[in-house]
């Protein structure tokens, strides 16, 4: 217990989010009676500038040693309030939050009971704050350099931005060439420009950039370290021993796999030569001789959307986001090439969300591409042609539609090797198998691993403009630690009492971050404070109670429990 603690308690109304359910005045009056509390206030929005000013002023005039903010989840505003406290000289680790919104007002309706619960929650945190000790915020130096995994559009763009900002970048690409999936395409909507116009200058710049080291035919086989100080092992063609690259940040831009339509056997792909994937048609269209490659005898060409996307049977419930537009583009190209052929697109819903996309879809129809609503159920042979079985859901009538050529709009899937990379980097994946961003809206390129960022389709299907936007976002996020040159490390880490430690190694086993290790000389555990994330796994596993997690010490936790049950 800190001697003579002087604690301030600040109850937030959160507009009506808290105040409508919790009697904030009553909670304030109750808080004022708690031991150690010298001031208790409530305010409409504590996170607002005037709200923070209230706290800062009290810290200075009342000489507070600890602060409790009773408001929302600490995930929301703990950094805000700790920052404010630090500005006026209070150690940020002496401020704690009581969550009376998510854990109280939002989930209860009985005002009297919710108010009572809010009081207990506040009392509990006050009891803990009375026992908090200041912790030292520390920083470590950042290795000035980045690793980018994947040489597609996303990886190249991210590498260029970081290199242009002045840092060395190592770009690792599995195959022997740059450009990724986009290199296999012919033209791009909406301007119908050839892919080379987009790709060639990018590739040239990457190859010529003095700060980009390009490793083709190479693969990341090991990653150690932490934000600012990664050691990446890369196996590269022509080198017998793997390279070890020290980098500060890592950008993952590994892309996607295409859905294999053989997994929809009812569509006859692989069985009938006139059922092809959109990529195969793209190769035909990309040939100099597209005019002859696409036989003029074709009378009916059908496009089928959502092959392997939005499909629980295929295990891909998500929309691949690009197929509607590439189908519209291909259908239009085919119609322009063969104006007398009937070009029909079978769809479930047409999704044209990008800039210029709806207009392009309008143009495709104006050029004579026919759209029919119905998810094709089956394809079989009829002479040289194939028959598409389906229902025109707008007419409400089943049909048999004969076609000479069928193009399947196959969707995107997580790369087959993404599980391996996920293990290497300890990178979580979402239910769909793509890499998981830290927050879908607020932190779209960050990951659960500090210093590792995502760009492009490895995070989820997206088109080229979105991929490039995300790549630039990943580069700019990765530049933050590189430019600062130092990164803060967790202060609330685990510490070992060497006198108590029996050297059993249990902590080494349970730690997911590799922070503790046994000192070979003394046979006791030492925690590397830079690697420690403060999760507490070692402290709870330690049979000798030799490990203490700062900010969550036994006396602090027991005081919280006592306040709740007392």
């Amino acid at each position: 217990m800190v001697e003579n603690p002087r604690i301030g308690v600040y109850i937030c109304h959160c507009g009506i989010n808290i105040a409508a359910t919790v009697d904030v005045q009553k909670v304030t009056e109750f808080a004022a009676t708690l031991p150690g509390v010298v001031v208790a206030r409530n305010y409409l929005y504590m996170c607002s500038d005037p709200g923070q000013a209230l706290i800062m002023q009290d810290i200075e005039t009342e000489g507070l040693t600890g602060v409790v903010v009773a408001s929302c989840s600490p995930r929301m505003h703990e950094p805000t309030f700790r920052g404010a406290a630090q500005q006026v000289g209070l150690n940020p680790y002496c401020l704690e939050m009581a969550n009376i919104r998510e854990q109280c007002s939002w989930v209860h309706s009985d005002r009297a009971k919710a108010t009572e619960k809010a009081q207990w929650l506040v009392a509990s945190v006050v009891a803990k704050v009375a026992r908090l000790v200041p912790l030292e915020s520390r920083e470590v130096a950042v290795t000035p350099g980045a690793l980018v995994i994947g040489g597609g559009v996303a990886g190249m763009m991210a590498a260029l931005d970081i290199a242009d900002a002045g840092f060395p970048v190592c770009l690792v690409e599995k195959t022997g060439c740059l450009g990724g999936r986009v290199a296999g395409l012919d033209r791009l909507f909406p301007a119908m420009e050839p892919v080379a116009e987009l790709l060639s200058p990018l590739i040239e710049r990457v190859r010529a950039h003095p700060r980009i080291t390009l490793l083709l035919n190479s693969q990341v086989t090991g990653v150690e370290g932490y934000v600012g100080n990664f050691q990446v092992q890369v196996e590269t063609a022509g080198h017998s021993a793997p390279l070890v690259l020290p980098v500060g940040v890592i950008i993952v831009a590994t892309g996607y796999d295409l859905f294999d339509p053989r997994r929809k056997p009812e569509l006859g792909y692989g069985q009938y030569p006139n059922v092809v994937t959109a990529l195969e048609l793209e190769h035909i269209l990309a040939r100099e001789s597209a005019d002859t490659a696409l036989s003029s005898a074709l009378r009916s060409i059908a496009f089928i959307q959502c092959v392997g996307s939005r499909d629980a049977q295929a295990g891909n419930p998500y929309c691949s986001r690009v197929c509607c537009m590439y189908t519209a583009r291909q259908a239009r190209q085919v119609k322009e090439l063969r104006p007398n052929a009937e070009v029909t697109v079978f769809y479930m819903d047409v999704r044209t969300f990008g800039k210029g996309a709806e207009e392009f879809y309008d143009e495709a129809r104006a050029k004579g591409v026919r759209y029919r609503r119905g998810n094709i159920s089956e394809i079989y042979r009829r002479g040289e042609r194939v028959v598409l079985l389906g229902e025109d859901t707008l007419q409400g009538r089943p049909f048999e539609f004969e076609a000479d050529l069928v193009v399947l709009a196959t969707g995107m899937e997580p790369r087959h090797d993404s599980a391996a990379l996920s293990t290497l980097l300890k990178l979580p994946r979402s239910a769909d198998g793509f890499f998981l961003e830290l927050h879908p809206k607020l932190r779209p390129v960050d990951t659960a691993v500090d210093g590792v960022f995502l760009a492009g389709c490895c995070q989820g299907p997206k088109d080229i403009p979105d991929t490039i936007a995300q790549a630039k976002a990943a580069a700019s996020s990765a530049l933050i630690p590189l430019l600062r040159g130092r990164v803060p490390v967790e202060a609330a880490t685990a510490v070992v009492d060497a006198e108590m430690c029996a050297g059993c190694g249990m902590c080494v086993e349970v730690c997911p971050y590799g922070a503790p290790g046994l000192d070979p000389l003394w046979g006791v555990s030492r925690v590397n404070a830079v690697l420690c994330k403060g999760c507490g796994a070692c402290a709870s596993a330690c049979p000798s109670k030799a490990i203490r997690l700062q900010q969550f010490t036994p006396d602090q936790i027991l005081a919280q429990v006592d306040a709740l049950v007392g």
């Binding site: 009812e266 049977q313 119905g374 998810n375 089956e378 389906g390 229902e391 859901t393 048999e400």
Partner: protein, 371 residues
């Protein structure tokens, strides 16, 4: 009928009206049955007039719609549930009513006496499973009573005996499996059959059950909860015996054969290779495929109670189309692995005047020739 309770129970909200179900429905091409449109009605209307939908009895429960639905809605289950409403209020076609009554009284849809269930095994030595056996052979109603299907059961007994298996049947205690009972919407009777048959099957103590029909196989495997007892269709067991060398062919069958995948074996239970493995193992036999095979096999229209309900549009039978597809391969024999397929397709061969060109045989009849 109020739509909301069923809509919720069957979670129809998942439907995005893409049309894959009706698009692939073999019956929708020839009758007014449109399951996509029925689901839409359930989703947006408070009431459904069941009397206005006689085509509900057209569904063969081939489950193509269930297998292909991209949203995991189970469209055919709506038809079964709607039939259930009709059954509850007694509004069923007479022939369906008679079949259900036969099953209730005599344990088989024909209503022939239970005592005659073992007539097919005259002259064969088959042990009562009740004395204990490793393998329980569940014969099924059609192979037990129907003259056309009885040779299949006899051929199986011969094969099991040749392989030296310790097997037995339930004799006259065997009752209808209830697969079609559930699909005709008679849930009460189905549950009773599951309970009684399940207890009887467990009491034998066999580690495996083998069925003649993919329909019995389907319900035992997926709906009975026979934990710890392995359920097999005969094609799986025969293929296994051939593979292990416990069964070997000694005679040639020099015929060109095509194989029709039954819905309940193929689409619904993904057993595509074993029947083909058996056929390929028969010396001299040449197996040719129809264009629509495996997952795209065309339903013969015998399932889901359609053996006892004609449905609407009698003129255009799917089996007619199917036997032409078979004949077009140049095959002399259309092989099947289901007693319903055997009967519907054989009828179709006769009606379509293909008797000179095409013969319908069960795989076991071919095996019997080769043993």
């Amino acid at each position: 009928m109020k739509t909301q309770p069923l809509t919720e129970e069957l979670e129809l909200f998942g439907c995005i009206q893409c049309g894959k179900c009706t698009g692939g429905c073999p019956v929708a091409r020839k009758t007014t049955l449109n399951i996509r449109s029925l689901i839409y009605h359930m989703l947006i209307e408070p009431e459904l007039d069941l009397e206005a939908h006689p085509e509900l009895w057209d569904c063969t429960s081939c489950f193509t719609c269930v297998v292909r639905c991209p949203k995991d809605v189970r469209p055919a289950e709506l038809i079964i549930a709607l039939r259930g409403q009709l059954v509850e209020s007694g509004r069923v076609p007479d022939t369906v009513g008679a079949a259900l009554m036969g099953i209730f009284r005599q344990g088989n849809p024909t209503g022939i006496a239970r005592e005659d269930r073992t007539a097919w095994m005259d002259g064969l030595s088959v042990k009562p499973a009740q004395e204990g056996c490793e393998l329980l052979y569940y014969v099924g109603c059609t192979p037990a009573y129907d003259l056309r299907a009885q040779p299949v059961a006899r051929a199986l007994v011969r094969a099991f005996t040749a392989a030296g298996l310790d097997f037995g049947t339930l004799g006259i205690e065997e009752s209808c499996c209830g697969n079609e009972v559930r699909r005709m919407g008679e849930m009460g009777l189905f549950e009773m059959l599951v309970e009684e048959n399940g207890a009887l099957i467990r009491s034998v103590g066999a580690s495996r059950v083998v069925t003649t029909s993919p329909h019995c196989f389907n319900t035992f495997k997926n709906e009975y909860g026979l934990d710890g007892i392995e359920v097999l269709h005969y094609t799986q067991l025969i293929a296994e015996l051939l593979d292990q060398g416990r069964l070997a062919f000694s005679r040639e069958v020099t015929k060109k054969v095509t194989y029709h995948d039954p819905c309940f074996l193929g689409k619904q239970n993904n057993i595509f290779e074993e029947p083909r493995a058996i056929l390929k193992a028969i010396p001299g036999l040449e197996l040719v495929e129809m264009d629509r095979n495996r997952e795209r096999s065309l339903c013969c229209e015998g399932g889901g109670g359609r053996m006892w309900a004609e449905g609407t549009n009698l003129e255009q039978r799917l089996a007619f189309q199917r036997v032409h597809e078979a004949a077009d391969t140049g095959a002399e024999i259309l092989a099947v692995a289901c007693p319903f397929c055997l009967m519907t397709l054989e009828d179709a061969v006769k009606v379509q005047g293909l008797e000179e060109r095409l013969k319908v045989m069960d795989i076991m009849e071919l095996v019997n020739l080769a043993l």
